[in-house]
């Protein structure tokens, strides 16, 4: 077990480092002139030279890479260009204050709702209820997230005026969570469909196995067979999917954050990309890639922990 843990963790660190280096090289070395980007095309040669020196561009790229990586590992991701004086790490922290709870809310909603619907479907394989749920899941997967968000805004904020439309007042404000409700629901729905399909598929496979037949033959009530015997075995792939969904949402909530004007990670990513704020964009990219790698490693370790066949070399 320890060996498995060490190998997985080492692989995670290696992947994280490679992705970080690739992002650094891709964003700052290949496009060439970051200094020109920073000062603009009309700057005087003196200002341009000063910017070049300030960015350290007079040094070779591998020295800059090593330097940046060393500081990034100590939590120093540099200073934003767009928000002068703001450390990138502090901006990312601010963004996470919104994006983290939002992703968590959406993932849990999707997991619980989707799981329930999936179990309901699997209990009635091939019957009208199952076909209806499958159809709804198809629809859920085809809906563009941002359009769903706009439709929710239209119904809940414009027509019914139940929930605040857009923006986020900060966690100190009263009813701050209400601002995350609609975006959370928007992000959750397509993933509800995903979890429902996954649960249904996994359960349908399990229900065809001998141990389920045995449990039924023993005369156990169908509910107990479904929830106690079958679902327990389905939890492993579902938990792994839960982790992956959460990790991907940290960087993938961008469009919905934009629909609801939330000041999350996505807002900073978008501003950084359109305003060409390289340190900030690099910070977002590294944070998101690290989160996705960490979560998928955690899922693999969980798999290995619960299923000895996987950790065998």
């Amino acid at each position: 077990m320890l060996r498995f843990l060490l190998i997985r963790t080492a692989a995670m660190v290696a992947t994280g480092l490679v992705v970080a280096m690739a992002a650094f090289i891709g964003l700052t070395v290949i496009p060439g002139d970051a200094a020109r980007l920073m000062v603009g095309p009309e700057a005087t040669p003196e200002r341009y030279e000063a910017a070049r020196r300030a960015l350290g561009l007079d040094r070779p790229w591998h020295a800059r890479l090593a330097d940046w990586l060393g500081r990034a590992l100590r939590g120093d991701l540099g200073t934003s260009w767009r928000y002068p004086g703001w450390p990138v790490a502090a901006l990312l922290g601010q963004g996470l204050q919104v994006t983290f709870p939002l992703a968590l809310l959406a993932t849990l909603l999707a997991f619980l709702l989707g799981g329930l619907l999936g179990v309901a479907s699997a209990a009635r394989l091939g019957q009208p209820q199952d076909l209806l749920l499958s159809g709804l899941a198809q629809l859920g997967l085809a809906l563009p997230e941002f359009w769903l968000g706009i439709l929710f805004l239209l119904v809940f904020s414009v027509r019914l005026q139940l929930l605040p439309a857009t923006g986020f007042p900060g966690w100190e404000a009263e009813r701050a969570w209400a601002h995350l409700l609609l975006p959370g629901l928007t992000l959750a729905l397509p993933r509800v469909a995903y979890f429902a399909r996954l649960t249904r598929a996994v359960l349908a496979d399990l229900l065809a196995l001998e141990f389920v037949r045995t449990a039924r033959a023993k005369g156990l009530p169908e509910g107990r067979v479904l929830f106690w015997h079958a679902l327990r075995n389905a939890l492993l792939p579902l938990t792994a999917a839960l982790g992956l969904t959460f990790g991907r949402l940290l960087g993938g909530a961008l469009v919905v954050e934009r629909v609801f004007s939330l000041p999350g990670l996505g807002k900073y990513a978008l501003e950084a990309a359109l305003g060409r704020d390289l340190p900030l964009l690099l910070g977002v990219a590294v944070l998101v890639a690290a989160a996705v790698t960490a979560v998928s490693t955690a899922a693999e370790i969980l798999y290995g922990f619960l299923d000895p066949r996987i950790r065998a070399p």
Binding site: A142, V158, G252, L254, V255, L274, V292
Partner: protein
């Protein structure tokens, strides 16, 4: 069977609007043709937008860009990914697994974030978006082709071809690729659907095809600004987009069940 009909119908309807829009539009897409924010009527079946432009005409004209970018990205990413997977599967080893690892690393970035990174490199226009979507599609095809080739390379007909003196290029393109055509076609159908969705999301964010040419994503973005005055412009572009994507997904499901009898179909 019903999935085939429904899928073809939905996607066909969306595509018909787009193809028809290349030759004929009810009104000019960028011209003011009615009162602003008018609800649906006979003259404007989808209503008009904030400027008084006909929404149906703009949906028809805007779909062209969305479909073109998505198809282009699919063709590029699918071809490159398939070739990569074929070669890596036929010549297993360190180099191959490194290549595949690199392709997998692309999946660590959500597609929209990947597009943002490329927008910085290539500018916020069509090339950046197309390259991002191609890179997003690539790993799926690489994995499929790799797994398939790995399995095929030890099969008798491949060994027979090799003993007759066929080179790797001939074996991969003439023997491996045709045998992998069905799973790749299924993946292409699903990938086209996700590419359409991703293109719409990106143009909603203001990346991709620049204004004044309409795109489905940006039309929805503009409609959101005036949501409190009229809901109609926010409804129809989304409906057409969702219908096309839903149709493609249904078609993909149908093709998967039809082309691959080994995959047991859930009842």
């Amino acid at each position: 069977m019903s999935r085939l009909v429904l899928g073809l119908g939905l996607t066909g309807l969306g595509l018909l609007l787009v193809v028809l829009g290349a030759f004929w539009l009810p009104h000019e897409a960028e011209a003011l043709s009615g009162p602003p924010l008018a609800p649906p009527s006979w003259a404007h079946p989808f209503g008009t937008d904030w400027f008084g432009r006909d929404v149906l005409s703009r949906v028809m004209a805007g779909g062209r860009a969305s479909w073109a970018v998505a198809t282009l990205a699919l063709a590029a990413g699918g071809t490159l990914g398939t070739l990569l997977g074929l070669v890596a599967g036929y010549f297993p080893g360190l180099g191959a697994s490194l290549l595949l690892r690199a392709a997998d690393a692309l999946l660590a970035f959500p597609p929209v974030l990947l597009a943002l990174l490329l927008a910085v490199l290539l500018g916020p226009g069509v090339p950046g978006v197309a390259v991002a979507l191609a890179l997003f599609n690539l790993p799926y095809f690489a994995r499929l082709a790799h797994a398939g080739t790995l399995e095929l390379r030890t099969r008798e007909f491949v060994l027979a071809a090799r003993s007759l003196g066929a080179g790797p290029g001939h074996i991969l393109l003439r023997h491996a690729l045709p045998n992998l055509a069905s799973p790749l076609l299924v993946q292409a159908t699903f990938s086209l659907a996700t590419s359409l969705l991703a293109e719409a999301a990106l143009s909603y964010l203001g990346l991709g095809v620049p204004p004044p040419h309409p795109t489905w994503g940006r039309m929805l973005g503009e409609a959101q600004t005036h949501l409190f005055r009229s809901p109609w412009p926010a409804v129809f572009p989304g409906l057409v987009l969702t219908g096309s994507v839903l149709g493609l997904n249904l078609l993909g499901d149908f093709l998967r069940d039809r082309l691959d009898p080994r995959l047991r179909r859930l009842p």
